[in-house]
């Protein structure tokens, strides 16, 4: 087809697409509280199509200069499908800023408009490849803009810590993320979380834990490989053979590095239990496996040994003899102390690594140990819950990352108890233990501090416990909370009265003007765009057309971005057409512009809140005064 037709088709396509976009955002802006307007689901496809169109257009534009043509089109296409270059080039090369900005431009599948969390996450992965304080600073400065770091943000901060070498702290955060149910967090995040946690367990030779993490979805080639190796290391029946091992190795990353490991795993033979195993010898085996390397059959052997020891006449006689030899010593006490210490050892092995009580064989000692372990765990969960409750009552809030750590600990404790719960009463007591603290924790995080993701995770977890405990008295309210936390509803604060920092009448006039003007221009240009083809069918017009349409499209965001600021003692209420959010004074920075215009810059706001806003004052003098009254302000780069 000839250039004429191409020109026509292209411009029409461009106009229609951009107009649709503008129309949608306009309509949505009329619906109150409709976040879908600002975070259209078709966002990423739209950007893709935009870049594809660009590629085609470049291709057509630079026909005379083949080199430029090739370069530009390729760049556009690369941007259109940017996941691959980012994952294969930028992140491994450790280009923090580049991968950040590229992701920023092309968008991240898991985040929405304006959210810098997805880019930050990818940047942090790059940072892990080439740790540098500058990069870490760069990423954390981005993360500071958010009141609600979604799992992406939390994971990003964890990776930053890892790059900084704060290993334990980072792992605490990741464990917190690891307790999230499937589907809450983006796959990309959970893959990384599971990989790191499984690897960390492998560094502690805690192979059971490796398997536990590795079999969680989403699985990755690396976790599959680790799982296979762990099974070999445990020497359990049905461990993968050499073929499966090599197959998984083939798919896993860093083959050169892992090859030696695989060879080692194939060569390793776990020692089997000696056939006649004396009670004390069983203890020795258990001790040799401590802290994390003992298998169920060793624990079982130890417990059985304990049982034997309990009613073993000649052992008792032996102790008696020695007691007599040593003088006035009660052999009875000695025996009970020995048995007690053995019991505590076995309990220790189960407790330290959170092993299931199912490992304990039936029998008197087994039962006693089961009770003991269960009580110890319940006690711990109780302690954590109490501390949480105390902290909340005293309103001693922590940074979001620390909150995630606390949450992770409590959730872990609960999960262990839940796994050991056999009777209905176990579930009931577990739920009753953590119900209240979880309730107030979730409520505060979700509704008071706008941390929807964490709050939602808490409520969903609580709901699960509630259902398995059949505690219907609490179910309804918990469900409501979960729903409320799930919807990106307004922060449910009671109406806050306060002093508006500018003159409302003028504000509304401006807004009305903006609406009207944009509407007129919109429809005008719609028609105008279609006329291009017949009036001036050449390059310049095409360019102008494109420029105008995109400018027009952006203009539609303007009314949505004009804010009314109200000062209250609880902070500054920022009221938009659709959103209201209360920010602390230090998180607002104002700059006075011409015609009483105020540039408003917010930080530490939820991701659904626009960050760059305008406000209008009666006069530029007043605007300057207001801006001065807000200074000094904390304004983050970016």
């Amino acid at each position: 087809m000839n250039q004429q037709h191409f020109n026509t088709v292209f411009i029409v396509l461009a106009c229609i697409a951009s107009s649709l976009w503008g129309l949608c955002s306009f309509l949505m802006s009329l619906v109150p509280q409709a976040h879908r307007a600002v975070y259209p689901r078709y966002w990423l496809p739209w950007r893709r199509s935009l870049f594809v169109l660009l590629a085609i257009w470049f291709d057509w534009l630079f026909q005379q200069h083949p080199l430029l043509q090739l370069a530009s089109s390729v760049t556009a296409l690369a941007l259109a499908f940017a996941e691959l270059p980012i994952a294969w080039v930028l992140v491994p090369a450790g280009l923090v800023r580049t991968s950040y900005y590229v992701t920023r431009v092309v968008g991240h599948p898991a985040t929405r408009v304006g959210a810098q969390l997805g880019p930050a996450f990818r940047a942090s992965r790059a940072l892990l490849n080439r740790p540098s304080e500058a990069g870490a600073q760069f990423i954390s400065s981005r993360l500071e803009l958010y009141a609600d770091l979604t799992p992406l943000g939390v994971a990003a901060s964890a990776l930053v810590m890892l790059a900084r070498g704060e290993r334990e702290h980072a792992l605490g955060v990741l464990r917190g993320l690891g307790t999230l149910p499937y589907g809450v967090a983006p796959r990309e995040v959970m893959r990384v979380v599971h990989e790191i946690l499984a690897l960390e367990a492998a560094t502690r030779a805690n192979w059971h834990e490796v398997v536990e993490w590795a079999e969680l979805h989403p699985r990755t080639p690396l976790t599959r490989l680790l799982e296979a190796i762990a099974l070999r290391a445990l020497g359990v029946p049905g461990a993968p053979g050499s073929f499966r091992l090599w197959y998984r190795w083939f798919w896993a990353p860093r083959r050169l590095a892992t090859r030696a490991l695989v060879v080692r795993a194939l060569g390793f033979q776990r020692s089997q239990l000696p056939a006649p195993l004396g009670p004390m010898q069983a203890q020795l085996l258990l001790a040799s496996g401590y802290p994390s390397n003992s298998r169920p059959l060793e624990v079982a052997a130890a417990v059985r040994g304990l049982d034997e020891l309990r009613q073993d006449p000649e052992w008792a006689a032996e102790v008696e003899r020695r007691a007599l030899a040593l003088g006035n010593v009660s052999a009875q006490n000695a025996r009970s102390r020995i048995l007690e210490s053995i019991e505590s050892d076995i309990a220790d092995v189960l407790l330290v690594n959170g092993r299931p009580c199912a490992w304990l064989p039936p029998g008197p000692s087994g039962e006693a140990l089961r009770e003991r372990v269960k009580e110890a765990r319940a006690e711990r969960a109780d302690r954590l819950a109490k501390e949480l409750h105390r902290r909340l009552e005293q309103r001693r809030d922590l940074g979001e990352v620390e909150e995630w750590i606390c949450w992770g600990q409590l959730a872990q404790a609960c999960l262990e108890l839940e796994r050991d719960a056999v009777t209905h009463d176990d579930h009931v007591s577990l739920f009753r233990t953590v119900h209240r603290p979880l309730w107030s924790f979730g409520y505060r995080e979700c509704f008071v501090r706008d941390r929807r993701t964490l709050g939602r995770a808490i409520f969903q977890f609580q709901r699960r416990l509630c259902v398995s405990a059949k505690a219907f008295d609490a179910l309804e309210t918990i469900t409501n909370n979960a729903a409320a936390g799930g919807r990106e509803a307004l922060p449910n604060k009671s109406d806050l009265a306060g002093e508006p920092v500018h003159d409302l009448v003028r504000f509304f006039r401006v807004r009305r003007w903006a609406r009207g003007a944009t509407a007129v221009v919109f429809f005008g240009l719609m028609a105008f765009g279609f006329c291009f083809r017949w009036l001036w069918p050449d390059v310049q017009t095409a360019i102008t057309g494109l420029a105008m349409t995109s400018a027009l499209a952006y203009a539609f965001l303007v009314p949505g971005r004009i804010a009314e600021l109200i000062e209250t003692e609880d902070g500054v209420i920022v009221q938009l057409v659709q959103f209201r959010h209360v920010v602390q004074r230090r998180d607002v920075s104002l700059r006075a512009g011409p015609w009483g215009l105020l540039w408003v810059r917010l930080q530490r706001t939820p991701y659904w809140m626009p960050r760059r806003l305008w406000s209008v004052q009666a006069s530029s003098a007043q605007a300057r005064a207001t801006a001065a009254s807000f200074a000094p302000t904390v304004s983050k780069a970016g």
Binding site: R167, E168, H169, R390, R436
Partner: protein, 824 residues
Amino acid sequence: MSSKRSIFVGIDLGTTNSAAAVFDGERVQLIRSAQGSGLLTPSVVRIDARGKVTVGERARRLVDQDPDNVKSEFKRMMGSQQTIAFPAAGLVRKPEELAAEVLRSIREDVKAQTGILPETAVIGVPALFELPQTAATSEAARLAGFERVEIIQEPVASGLGAGFRAAEDVGSFLVYDLGGGTFDVSLLEAREGLLRVVGHDGDNFLGGRDFDAALVDHFIELIRAQSGVTLQRDNPAHAHAFRRLRVAAEDAKIELSRSTEADVFIADIGLQGQSVALSASVERATFESLVAPLIERTITICERLLQSHGLVGAGSVGNVVLVGGPTSIPALRARVAQALGAPFGEGLDAMTLVAEGAAYYAASSGLDARGSGAKEAGAGAPVWLQFPAMSSDLNPFVVGKLVEASSRERISHVVISRTDGGWASAREVVDPDGTFAIMTNLVARRPNTLRIEGYAPNGDGPLLLAPSEFVIVHGVTLGDPPLARSVGVALANNGVRVFFDRGSPLPMRRTFAVRTVETLSPADPEGSLRIPVVQGEFPYAHLCRLVGAIEIKASSLKSPLPVDSLIEVTIELDRGGRLAASGCIPSTGDVFGHVAQLITGKVVPSELAPRIEELRTRLRDTRTKAFKHKAQKAITVLSSAEAMLDDCAIATQRAQGGDQDAGERAQRLLIDADALIAEGEGEIAWPDLDERARSGLTRWAGWIAEYGTAIERQALEETTRAMEKASLARNAREVRHHLATIAHLGNAAAMRSEGAWESELDYQISQITKSRDPKAAAKLVAEGQRAIQVRDKAALEAAVRGLWELAPGTSDKTRGLGHWSGVT
């Protein structure tokens, strides 16, 4: 005595008198006071107007002339913040400094009689001294110029002294140590020449002074009879008179130990305004009748100790060693002999036994008083020898190391032989690293001089080594000095994590992992984690004495420390009673040092009375509960606690009269009573909880039956069942949770009743002052009242809920009790 021989110095720093002994390996020599007060140096210090310090006998003689500037019995104030004023010189001294004066004079005496100014010594302290007091004693020794001291407990020392004197193993024996101010009784056991403290008991506030006090009371009666004047202890105006009476009583007491009658005459007991004379003659019988109850107290303590170690009835111990001045009272000796049915260790001077024992201990732990600078260098290859200066073992090992690498080629074998020619070892091969260990052979109960020689690989020799000779004394030794009171870490739940049990040998070092109970974030500046180190035998932290604390400032952390993270706490105790503690965070490797605060709080008498009252109330309602649950054991415990509280009240009254000692005593009684009451509460804790559960159930079930939904009723049934089960299993934690659940259900139901929200609003109005944000609360209250007027139920609910949000958090009382510990 030549300085070639090493000597060992032991000092008994007593409340009233101090003594010192020197042991040279063969015989022990008691140091006589240069002021001719015999073997004893009175622990009395005087500072006159020119600031000149007088110590000992001379100072004691001046008690009557110038009582304000002559101070004694500062020992019992050691380790406390109290200071002692000398008005004449306008000086203020710490007890340690006065003790240092006494020690310095003793040091001088030792120099005068042995020609050696001792650099190191062993000092005896009462068994019930706690770390602050022990550390203060070490400090006093340092001030007195000793470069190194070790602390030994008096009963152990006297036991060592007695055991050393005893020809053969005496088996188990009892040390009955009645000092000026403290009574210690300890059960020791000597087997295979090794002395072991089986256990000890005692009363920190029972001693010769109480005997005097009994006599003083007698005098008061006499004075009232003679001149109708009534003296009150809590009247400061009478303090001087009491001092005089006490001196007189002391003399009379000593007199009565020898003769059957003592005459007391004071021309003027020194009351302002009037002159009252006291002239009386006290018969021994009267005195004995006066002190009989005190003696009985000591006997009961002895029996308690014996019973606690399964030794019952007379003759259960092989030997009884009497220590301390008051034990010379004939009546006391008779009663003790009759009660314990064991012979007294003969030939033992009750006054100086502690000093002797301390000297022996110095020898057994190789504390050569000549100090470090006394290594005589001889010709020959230098060898570094390690051997016990004193050994209870007939075949101790001598371990050595050839210091110079060159000599390691030259010398391949080493031989040790006794100079008396009785024994010589085989040729011992020297290890490549120049070390060797040889088992020697000693003659029992006397110093053995041993010669050491080297032999070349080709067998020629003997080659000279330096030192070529050394001495090992055979005799009773003490393995390691035992710790007097358990040391541990206070926990957030007011519990104690014991690190060292009482009796564990010093020096000691232990590491335990504890978990934090709150999150520390570097963000908040005032956030900090506290790990208090406490000493005491009680299971509750608030009853144990705080001897130090590890502070972890949040600001000093790099990354936040989440709740429930591990901290490895290490506590070290040396033989001088000095404590070092440190906390390590394994995840980051940061180590936090120990902030010492080794001082015992000053007792403020005015603070004691309210605490007594508080305890009485606690006692009362605990007892009513105990009667309700028919907890017999609890009732008996509580009655004894009440008796203690009565004593405590009396002691407090005295303390208000300025008697520091009584204050200390009152404090201790208070603590003991508290412990007993806590025990009683523990006894009835379970039945009480059970009872609370039942009453709660009956109370809430009504509401739920009336206003509850079907679901709530079902939940109630379920929870009730679970609670029954838990109470059968006696699982208090479970029961509490279920009770809370029932209460919540009941509340939910009750709030549906007519006028519930209104009354709740009224309640919140009454609580408004405690609200977190009174301004906002006031606003909500106003809204609520408006809502009531317009009958807007929703608005009312909203207001009340808002008020609930603003309600203050629960105060963490237990944390306060546990010395604000941040770990569990």
